[in-house]
Assembly symmetry: C2
Homo-oligomer: 157 residues x 2
DNA sequence: TTCATTTATCTCGAATTAGTACTAATTCTA
DNA sequence: TAGAATTAGTACTAATTCGAGATAAATGAA
């Protein structure tokens, strides 16, 4: 007779190993991808966070500082710093919110828009190259699974 | 007659959008996951890098400082700092390489081993919970695709 | 209205990490 | 085998990020 408990334990262990491995692979894959992207972005004189913030207001329009933090996943104190940097480079500006005086909006400047008009298409092309190993179906599938994962992880809080 | 070129262009655009989205989802998923893991690790009085270094020498034995950087994906200059911290906490020690005098090895101390004996299983359990949304098959599949992706991204260098 | 609470942003200080330049040891090569 | 080139590690510096309040404005309840 087979030892059922033993089999179950082995299956659990295997599952645990897979989780550990998945974590490592996920980390490494994103690390490799980000290295590429960061390299591309650096040539613009921007760091990844700055690019992310600029991209946000370039594509989604004026944003309250607060919202930027939520979308780009950065603490509000850090956003202050990043926006300062971008303001120094004259790529965006702060302006007052028309009705709520607590709020400051970040707006892209002409200079920022001109920059993004030039580089955003390149950014997309770059990502396209990076993900060229997968076809559309695979990408869709991966997106679904990763979404599931991300949501699950968040809900553990 | 259908406009073939138009169809092709639309397909390409869709593919580009998928790549962009995949990048965002990947980033967010890992971010959510890491936040969880970091939270868990913080309770041990370690930061994620320290844990990663300690885990490495706990599981793989003594390592040259150099190797640690490669495995944990951190600049060698930063490793110095991390190893300093761990040495202060008496969780590891530096010792000389027996034959190559340029090399210093990081070794885990008894205190470090005792700590890891206690927390590493918890770490695995934590990951298991995070990845509980997927079954073993899905994990395997995800691992394969992410490996493919990671390798492809690396080879673009 | 008035006062407590919430919300949005910022300041400051500390932690973490990357970059640069340097020393020491080893290896390669002419 | 001397001297150049490489490799390992570290010290120092600068950049980036977060967390803990501080401040000011808006909101809500009595």
């Amino acid at each position: 007779m087979r030892n059922i408990k033993g089999v179950i334990r082995l299956t659990e262990e295997r599952d645990e190993e897979m989780s550990l491995k998945l974590f490592v692979v996920l980390t490494r894959a994103l690390d490799a991808i980000q290295k590429r992207v960061i390299e591309d972005i650096k040539h613009l004189g921007l760091n990844p966070t700055e690019f992310a913030v600029l991209e946000l207001i370039y594509n989604k329009g004026d944003q309250p500082i607060q919202k930027i933090g939520e979308k780009v996943l950065i603490a509000s104190s850090s956003i202050t710093y990043v926006v300062d940097q971008l303001e120094k480079k004259e790529l965006l500006e702060r302006k007052l919110h028309p009705s709520d005086r607590r709020v400051k909006l970040a707006t892209i400047t002409q200079k920022g828009k001109t920059l993004m008009d030039e580089v955003f298409p390149k950014h997309k092309k770059g990502l396209q190259e990076i993900f060229a190993g997968l076809d559309v179906k695979e990408k869709e599938q991966l997106i679904d699974q990763l979404k599931k994962l991300g949501l699950h992880a968040q809900n553990l809080n």
